[in-house]
């Protein structure tokens, strides 16, 4: 099996960021956009009937199709750094410095480019389509990244239900924003992480169990307390050890990578800001003044009929020679400035 993609494609779908990583990266970019007031567009997309394709051709084929679509996304949006997966094989891309109307333009390009992909499966050429939901940050009122993501996901759902191969902008910002606010009010405050507090009821239950197992009576209170302490301490030790082991090197590497990318985003948006300012300045100058055209189309030179033409010709040569000599002197004295 093979597929054709643009030159910018850089490997398989596994290269993309995980859901947690990509959401973190995107939230950072989103916050920046809100702070510095620049437009961005979010697209969520999924390959239509991907599950059926997987059943037909296997998981490898699914990966390759996803990889091909990812390549298209990178090529079309030039936003390869904030391209990743959500759960259920949906892909998501955040495109900064793109106005709201750019969402649809981008989506149409992606739709078309994906339609032109060809996959060869078991000797047969297969084509795929995608469904896309979009959202942007250019609107009045509250907007959180979560809402933007919901709006785009809702668009994707509608696009899929409509038969796929299309782009939908659901425009349900206010709805999701209200819902989010309500949910936020319901969620209890998170528990403090450390030190670990063992609730009294749990300790009572543990004491009861120990008494039963070892047949301890009322007079063995001291012993009971000691056993209880030992059990709790070693259980906690074990849990902590497990947690440490559960944080694999890979995750650490990934979070370092995220940090690196964040720094890169910051740098890029800084230089982008500078470029924009410079552009603005040049544009301002240009729009104020395109200049006034000279009366001459070509280099003139002395006309032969000019008064004292011969003398003037000599004078021109002398001025020129004096300037050649001046350059020579300047070059000979590199520190002439000081």
């Amino acid at each position: 099996m093979s597929f054709q993609t643009g030159g910018s494609f850089r490997g398989s779908a596994k290269d993309l960021f995980s859901p947690a990583q990509i959401q973190h990266l995107m939230r950072v970019e989103f916050d920046r956009a809100q702070r510095y007031n620049y437009p961005l567009v979010l697209l969520v997309l999924g390959v239509d009937r991907l599950a059926q394709l997987q059943d037909l051709y296997g998981a490898d084929v699914k990966d390759e199709i996803q990889g091909g679509v990812a390549g298209v996304l990178r090529g079309t949006t030039r936003a390869s750094d904030s391209l990743g997966y959500l759960v259920d094989d949906r892909m998501v891309v955040l495109v900064p410095h793109t106005p709201d109307r750019g969402a649809e333009v981008l989506a149409r390009r992606v739709l078309e480019a994906v339609r032109n992909l060809r996959f060869e499966c078991d000797g047969r050429v297969t084509r795929v389509t995608v469904s896309i939901g979009g959202a942007y940050n250019n609107r009045k009122g509250e907007l959180s990244f979560a809402t933007m993501l919901e709006v785009a996901e809702e668009g994707l759902r509608v696009a899929r239900e409509g038969g796929g191969n299309r782009y939908v902008h659901s425009d349900l910002y206010d709805f999701f924003e209200r819902k989010r606010a309500k949910d936020a009010a319901r969620v209890p405050a998170p528990l403090p992480a450390a030190p670990v507090q063992i609730p009294d009821t749990a300790l009572d239950a543990l004491g009861q169990r120990i008494r039963e197992m070892f047949g301890l009576g009322e007079g063995d209170q001291d012993l009971l307390a000691r056993i209880q302490r030992e059990v709790v301490a070693s259980a906690l030790r074990e849990v902590q050890e497990q947690v440490r082991r559960a944080l694999p090197d890979e995750a650490r590497e990934q979070s370092e990578r995220i940090e690196l990318l964040e720094r890169r985003i910051a740098k890029l948006s800084e230089s982008l800001g500078m470029t924009e300012a410079e552009l603005q300045r040049v544009l301002a100058q240009r729009s104020v003044d395109g200049g006034v055209a000279s009366v001459y189309k070509n280099v003139q030179g002395l006309s032969a009929s000019a008064a004292q033409a011969e003398l003037k010709k000599t004078l021109m040569s002398k001025i020129f020679e004096a300037n050649v000599e001046l350059r020579r002197q300047i070059d000979a004295a590199p520190d002439a400035r000081s």
């Binding site: 001459y296 189309k297 002395l302 000019a306 003037k312 040569s317 001046l326 300047i330």
Partner: protein
Amino acid sequence: MPALQPPAKPQGVLYLGIDLGTSRTSVSASNGVRETVASYVGYPKDVVSRKLLQKDVLFGDEALEKRLSLDFYRPLGHGVIKSGENSEKNLKAAADLVGEIVRRARPRADELVYAVIGAPAQAQIHSKKAILDAAREHVHSAMLCSEPFSVAYGLDMLDDTLVIDIGAGTTDFCRMHGTMPEDSDQVTNTFAGDYVDEQLAKLVREKYPEAQFTIQMIKQIKEKHSSVSDKMLPIVVNLPVKGKPTPFDITEQVRAACRSIVPPMVDALTELIANFDPEFQDRLKSRVLLGGGGSMIKGLDVELERQMHERLGAGKVVRVEEPIYGGANGALKIAHDMPAEFWEKLR
């Protein structure tokens, strides 16, 4: 430093004649633009000033007006880019000024731009380098040329002429005799516009010690009333006394201050005439060309002729018609007459 890259397919050729002066910098261009800006450059002193002024650099009268919030430069002191304690900053100010005068000529992006710059004859090599470096950032090829020479060239007075260019910092005298003037053909003195201002200030202070004024006020008064005539209408100006405007008659002081530069002018002319081929000395005396902002003093030509007659036995003085643009117009004409290959070689 490499010159500005020329456009790939030039749609035209724009010539600039630039006159870099102590007090005024002027340009005449082949698109009909003529601009002049006072040779002042200012940079906002601090962040607050920059916010208020909304500019990184100010030029000309605007810079003069806001100079209290600026690091303020008059970079072409005595016609030469100043060196000395602030030389680095002065060079930058001079370079920015060159950039500004090119901008004011409004060149089009698709045109080839060639500039001849009239620099003071006595400019040092480091000033010339700074002028050239600055010019080459903004035009595709640039040449320097002696300032009095370009005034004479602009008026087609190429042989046996004495050119006097009365500027702010210096008065330049140049003997033209058909070839490029050499060092021995040029004399410079500092009896020019600024000197007249100082004299006038001194004389007014002596006569009216209670009057309060600044040198800028004196300069304005001079530019409005300057005259060396024996017969002139009384000059009465209002000057503050303890903050209250009070009229003063300064007729005598203006006449004396303006006349103070004439004897040194005759000295310089005498020097240039005396060591010239005796056969042509009379011809030189009868072809004296008076230009520069200082030549706008009323009656100066007549007074100079009178003193030349007294001391040299003869004298005929002609005024340049447009004293402010005399240097720039001449430089423009030189740019026009310069063959293409010379421009290309100096790119």
